[in-house]
């Protein structure tokens, strides 16, 4: 494997981890959502994320010789490279949808940029993902408005979610050495340049929902280095249980 392939493998794995961990969090809502319709919606969005994780893991796996299942189910917390914001427990319904909103606004820009990747497979995955994100985004924007302009309780919960999540959003725009190299080669999308557009869109939507953009100053990151919150281990222990208990298990 040459240097570029090795970086591309790591890049695809981290994007795959983002999709896998977020998809798993959404799956936790199955049969627990506030209404049947939302149960279906959350499960369907989760499926899009699992599908995306599979595409990215198989791109990586073809380069590094591991299967999708090995990448998803046999790596431990320190090997996972997902963004910290995605591993936080699902919280209440407002927390899940507010996180989805912040993420959708980011992914809408990010996957659009990634369609220009010099790597054909990555560009194709981004092209597919971009369309699904557009639909997710429409729904999460709608929910943000409903929370904010709904009852005092729904607004309070949405604001609490924003306040909790705000310190984690910077990591979505952080570019490390690995991504800087791949950006220079035209393979990765530059997430840092998306920040201003994202900030403007998110601010507009939050204010339109009569909520407040948090002024928290603390920031946390570390997911890309495998330095996680205490929550990821619990998530993985549930998600990976079957493969850990019965290695190589298949349906």
């Amino acid at each position: 494997m040459n240097d570029t392939d090795s970086l591309l493998t790591r890049y695809a794995i981290r994007l795959g981890d983002d999709a896998m961990v977020h998809g798993q969090r959404l799956c936790e809502w199955s049969s627990n959502a506030p209404t049947l319709e939302e149960d279906l919606a959350l499960a369907n969005v989760a499926l899009d994320y699992l599908g995306r994780a599979r595409m990215l893991y198989s791109l990586a796996g073809n380069l590094c010789g591991q299967s999708e299942d090995e990448l998803a189910f046999t790596r431990d917390t320190r090997a996972f490279q997902n963004l910290l914001i995605l591993e936080l427990p699902r919280g209440d319904f407002a927390f899940t949808l507010v996180r989805q909103f912040l993420l959708d606004e980011f992914e809408h820009l990010f996957f659009d940029a990634l369609t220009a990747s010099a790597n054909e497979m990555l560009a194709a995955i981004a092209g597919k993902t971009r369309k699904e994100v557009a639909y997710h985004r429409r729904r999460s924007q709608e929910w943000l408005r409903r929370f904010g302009l709904g009852t005092a309780e729904s607004a309070r919960r949405a604001q609490a979610a924003l306040d909790t999540l705000w310190g984690y959003v910077d990591e979505m725009f952080a570019v490390d050495d690995l991504e800087a190299t791949l950006i220079a080669e035209g393979i990765a999308a530059d997430r840092a340049v998306l920040r201003a557009t994202w900030q403007a869109a998110v601010t507009h939507a939050i204010e339109a929902a009569a909520l407040t953009v948090p002024d928290t100053t603390w920031r946390i990151e570390g997911g890309r280095q495998g330095l996680h919150t205490e929550h990821l281990g619990h998530l993985l222990s549930e998600m990976q249980f079957m493969q850990r208990a019965y290695p190589g298990l298949s349906w």
Binding site: E37, L40, L47, Y49, R52, R54, M121, A124, I125, G127
Partner: protein, 169 residues
């Protein structure tokens, strides 16, 4: 009552697919695969959906190119298995299935016939939200997601029946 169905112009990719099939050296395989339907929408074949993109003879068998609809669509694996089974039954020795992600699948690849078949089956086609039972355009969304990833759930305000809408993608 019959709804007025606007017939969209044929998408360029759809036209290319129709030409590929017409000019193909293995017409009998395309015909054989007409029997493979979407497991969730048994009135549409993979060709109708635009999921079946190409069939090529290879050294020792046949390569079939499929474009997945939604990335996480659980029906994809069933579709692949059905394609394989159908071709093996038609005497093909080896079936290789290629997944083509680009250009990404879109509902625009369904032609007018497929849209009518959807409507007759009780699913509003992607073009406009229109009740497949009574043809009214007065409908409210019940859920952005329906029984499968590709559908949204509506209720008709005229006849009060619920219906699925195949979402434009």
């Amino acid at each position: 009552m019959n709804a007025i169905v606007t017939l969209p112009l044929v998408h360029a990719e759809r036209a290319a697919l129709v030409r590929r099939r017409r000019d193909s050296a293995c017409a009998e395989l395309w015909n054989a695969l007409d029997a493979v339907k979407d497991p969730e929408i048994p009135v549409l074949s993979l060709y109708d959906l635009g999921v079946l993109r190409d069939i090529r003879r290879a050294a020792d068998g046949v390569t079939v190119v499929l474009s997945p609809t939604y990335s996480g669509c659980p029906a994809m694996e069933t579709m692949e298995a059905d394609v394989r089974r159908q071709l093996l039954a038609a005497g093909v020795r080896q079936v290789v299935i290629e997944r083509a992600l680009s250009p990404p699948w879109t509902t625009d690849w369904m032609d007018a016939r497929a849209r009518l078949a959807l409507k007759d089956y009780g699913i509003a086609p992607p073009d406009t939200v229109c009740c497949p039972q009574c043809g009214s355009h007065d409908a409210s969304v019940v859920s952005d997601f329906g029984s499968t990833a590709c559908k949204a759930l509506y209720r008709c305000n005229a006849c009060l029946e619920p219906f699925d809408h195949f979402k434009p993608l």
